[in-house]
C-alpha cells in the first residue's frame, strides 16, 4: 500500500495542479496554448515509478503530467505559464516547451511526433557513452501516424537503444477520432512489435498496471535487450487545448465519455486505497498539503518579474 499511496499522491498532485490551471486560465494571465492531462495522470506516474533522476524524458504538447511526475519543478512550471522570468524557460517556451534538466526532464515540444527522435538520439548518446541511464519518450496515439515515430522506432530497434516509448492512446487527436486516422484493424502494440520494439498495452487508467508493465520493460531496457513501447489506453477529460470541458460539441459519443469518466484514474485509485484501509482523513490531509503547495506556486508565479525583452537577442547562437 505504500507505493500505491505514493502513486496516489503523485497523481492527485498533478490533478490538482491542472485543475488550478484550468480554474485560473480564464483570468487571461496564462497566455499560451495549454494542453491539460486531466484523466491521463496514471500513465505519467506509473511510468515515472521506474525511472531515476538520471533517466532522460521527452514529451509532447501535453506534457505537464510527464514533467511533474519526473520531478520537474512545480514553481517553474506555473511561472512559465505566466510567462515569467522564473519560468522553466524564462517565458520563452510556454506550456508547450517545458524543461527541468535537474530532474532529467529534458524537454517537451509542440510539433506532433518531433520529440520522439530526440529521445532516441539521447539513447544513442547513452549507449555510445555507456551511461547507466535510459531515455523515455511520451507521445499520443496521433503521433504514431507521423513518419518520425516510425523512423525513430526503426533506428532504436536497429541499434537496440535504451529507450522506452510511452504512447498514451486517448483515442483523439484534437477533435478527430481514431476512425479518420488509423485503420480499424490497427493495433499500436502489434505495429510496434513488427517494427522491433518490445511492446505491451495496458489499461492506462490503472496505475498499477502501468507501473508493473513499465517495470518489466525498463528492466529489459536496462539489461540491454533494446527498446520497448508501452501503450496506455486512457482518455482526456477536457478540451484538447484550454481549460474547459467541451463535450457539448458532441465530437465524442456520450456513452464513451461516460464510460471513461467513470474510470477516472484518480478516483479509481482513491477507492482502492480506501478499500485497502486508508482513511478518508489521511487522503484529505494529502490533498490539503498539495493544495498549499499549489497555492504557493501560483503566488510565486504571480509576483515574479516578467523577463526583460532587452535580452531577446540572447541565445540565438550558443555563446
Amino acid at each position: 500500500m505504500n507505493s500505491l499511496l505514493e502513486h496516489y499522491q503523485n497523481m492527485l498532485r498533478i490533478r490538482r495542479v491542472e485543475e488550478a490551471i484550468a480554474a485560473r486560465y480564464s483570468e487571461q494571465q496564462m497566455r499560451c496554448p495549454t494542453h491539460l492531462s486531466i484523466g491521463q495522470e496514471a500513465a505519467a506516474v506509473g511510468v515515472s515509478a521506474s525511472l531515476t533522476v538520471k533517466d532522460k524524458a521527452y514529451s509532447s504538447h501535453r506534457a505537464h503530467a510527464h514533467y511533474l511526475a519526473k520531478g520537474g519543478s512545480l514553481d517553474a512550471l506555473i511561472a512559465e505559464l505566466y510567462g515569467k522570468q522564473t519560468g522553466c524557460t524564462g517565458g520563452r517556451g510556454g506550456s508547450m516547451h517545458l524543461t527541468d534538466l535537474s530532474a532529467g526532464f529534458v524537454a517537451s515540444t509542440a510539433i506532433v511526433g518531433n520529440s520522439i527522435p530526440l529521445a532516441v538520439g539521447n539513447a544513442l548518446h547513452q549507449q555510445v557513452q555507456k551511461l547507466d541511464e535510459i531515455s523515455v519518450t511520451y507521445f499520443g496515439e496521433g503521433a504514431t501516424e507521423e513518419g518520425a515515430f516510425y523512423e525513430s522506432a526503426n533506428f532504436a530497434a536497429l541499434r537496440k537503444l535504451p529507450v522506452l516509448f510511452v504512447c498514451e492512446n486517448n483515442r483523439y487527436s484534437v477533435y478527430s477520432p481514431l476512425s479518420v486516422r488509423q485503420p480499424e484493424s490497427r493495433s499500436i502494440v502489434a505495429l510496434a512489435n513488427a517494427i522491433g520494439l518490445n511492446a505491451i498495452e495496458v489499461d492506462g487508467n490503472d496505475v498499477e498496471q502501468v507501473a508493473a508493465a513499465t517495470a518489466e520493460l525498463v528492466k529489459g531496457i536496462r539489461n540491454g535487450d533494446g527498446p520497448a513501447l508501452i501503450e496506455c489506453h486512457t482518455y482526456r477529460h477536457r478540451e484538447h487545448c484550454g481549460p474547459n470541458f467541451d463535450d457539448d460539441l458532441g465530437y465524442r459519443p456520450e456513452d464513451e465519455v461516460a464510460h471513461w469518466l467513470a474510470r477516472d484514474p484518480v478516483t479509481l485509485l482513491q477507492q482502492k486505497l480506501l478499500d485497502l484501509g486508508a482513511s478518508a482523513q489521511q487522503l484529505e490531509a494529502l490533498d490539503g498539503k498539495i493544495g498549499s503547495e499549489i497555492a504557493n506556486a501560483f503566488e510565486l508565479a504571480q509576483v515574479a518579474d516578467f523577463p526583460n525583452p532587452d535580452d531577446n537577442e540572447r541565445f540565438v547562437y550558443a555563446e
Partner: protein, 358 residues
C-alpha cells in the same frame, strides 16, 4: 455584431471553397480538423456536410505523406485543397512540395499538371511561440514552379483563393490568423471569377512608397493615415503575389516617389523584403532618392511570454516612425516611442474576438 451587409475574411474563405467544390466535382479538400466542430477557425464549416466525407475529410497526422497523396490525386485528375492550421507543421512536407509538386509539370515536360492549393495559417501572439508563428513565405517564393499568394483584405480573399484552387499549378496560400475576423461590406466583395491583381494599390500617394503583404498591409494603411496627418502622402501597395515579374506597379510607384519602405511579416534577413528591394534597386536605381528600407520581424524566434513580444512585431507606429526618420522629420510625441503599444487591448491579440488559445 454582424449585419446582413457585412462579411468576414474567414467567411469569404469558406465561400470560395464551397463554390470551388461545387464547380469542380473532382475537387477534394482535406486537412487536420477540416471537418471538426471548429472547422479551422470557421473557414471550412459546412464543407463536409455539403459535399460529403469522401471529398472533404480529416486526415492522419502525417503531413509529408498526405501532401504526397494530395499531389498524386492531383496528378490523377482531382483538384486538391489542403489546409494546415499552422505553417510550422507543413515543414514536414518540404520534400513532397519542392521535389515533387513544384517541379512535376516542368520535369515531365508539361505532360502532367498539379492543381494543388495549400492553405497555411500563420499564428501570432497569445503565446504561439517559436513553433506556431513562422511565416516562411520567402522559402516558397524561392522555389520555381510554386505560386505564392498572401491575401490581406476581405474584399479580395475569396477571389484569390478561388483562383488559386482553379489554377493548374501548385499554389501556396498563406493566411495570417489575425485576418480571419476582418470585416468588409458584402457589396465590396470582388466576384470569384475576377482574376486577382498580383499587386494591389490600396492608397495612392506622391511622397513615399510603402510595400507590404499579408497582415502588414493593415498596419501599413493605418500608418499611411498617420503619415497623412503629418504631411506625408504615402502610397500603399500590396504584393499579394510573391513573384518579381508581377511587381510592375511597385516599380512604377518607386519611380514616382523615389522612396521605398518594405514591410515584411517574416524574419528580416533573406526575406521577401530583400527580394523586393533588390528587384526595385535593379530597375529603379536612377529614380531612388534614398536607400530603400525594410521593416520585418527580428532575426530570432517568437518568444512565448507576452512580456517578450511587445517589440517583436512591427506596428503602424513603427512604420510611421521609420518613414519619418528616413525623411529626417520630427516625430510627434504620440509616436516618439513607436514601440510602445497604444491600444487598450493587449498587444498579443488581434481584437476582442480573440479569446485564445489559437
Amino acid at each position: 455584431m454582424q449585419s446582413n451587409q457585412t462579411t468576414t475574411f474567414a467567411e469569404q474563405i469558406n465561400q470560395a471553397q464551397h463554390q470551388a467544390m461545387q464547380d469542380d466535382p473532382a475537387m477534394l479538400a482535406f486537412g487536420l480538423g477540416i471537418s471538426d466542430p471548429k472547422g479551422i477557425f470557421g473557414t471550412t464549416t459546412g464543407l463536409a456536410e455539403s459535399f460529403g466525407h469522401e471529398r472533404v475529410f480529416d486526415m492522419p497526422t502525417a503531413e509529408n505523406g498526405m501532401t504526397g497523396i494530395g499531389i498524386g490525386a492531383a496528378l490523377a485528375g482531382s483538384r486538391v485543397l489542403m489546409t494546415h492550421q499552422r505553417l510550422d507543421f507543413f515543414l514536414l512536407a518540404m520534400d513532397q512540395l519542392v521535389n515533387n509538386a513544384a517541379k512535376w509539370h516542368y520535369m515531365f515536360n508539361g505532360q502532367m499538371k498539379v492543381p494543388l492549393t495549400i492553405r497555411l495559417i500563420i499564428g501570432r501572439g497569445w503565446g504561439q511561440g517559436p513553433t506556431h508563428a513562422q511565416n516562411l513565405q520567402s522559402w516558397f517564393a524561392h522555389i520555381p514552379g510554386l505560386k505564392v499568394i498572401t491575401p490581406s483584405k476581405t474584399d479580395a480573399v475569396a477571389a484569390q483563393l478561388y483562383s488559386a484552387i482553379m489554377d493548374d499549378s501548385p499554389v501556396i496560400f498563406i493566411e495570417h490568423r489575425w485576418l480571419h475576423q476582418q470585416q468588409c461590406e458584402t457589396s465590396q466583395i470582388k466576384p470569384l471569377t475576377l482574376r486577382p491583381e498580383p499587386v494591389r494599390v490600396h492608397k495612392t500617394g506622391a511622397d513615399y512608397t510603402i510595400v507590404a503583404n499579408s497582415y502588414m498591409v493593415l498596419e501599413s494603411l493605418i500608418a499611411a493615415r498617420k503619415l497623412a496627418e503629418l504631411g506625408i502622402d504615402a502610397e500603399v501597395l500590396e504584393t499579394a503575389e510573391l513573384e518579381p515579374a508581377c511587381w510592375q506597379p511597385v516599380y512604377q510607384s518607386v519611380a514616382k516617389t523615389g522612396r521605398l519602405l518594405v514591410c515584411d511579416s517574416a524574419h528580416t534577413s533573406f526575406s521577401v523584403a530583400a527580394e523586393i528591394i533588390s528587384s526595385v534597386t535593379e530597375r529603379c536605381f536612377g529614380q531612388l532618392k534614398q536607400a530603400p528600407l525594410r521593416l520585418g520581424l527580428p532575426d530570432y524566434p517568437e518568444p512565448t511570454s507576452i512580456a517578450l513580444t511587445k517589440h517583436f512585431y512591427p506596428s503602424a507606429d513603427s512604420i510611421t516612425k521609420k518613414v519619418m526618420m528616413s525623411l529626417q522629420r520630427e516625430l510627434p510625441a504620440s509616436i516618439q516611442d513607436a514601440d510602445e503599444h497604444h491600444s487598450t487591448r493587449p498587444h498579443d491579440v488581434p481584437g476582442e474576438w480573440f479569446k485564445g488559445p489559437f
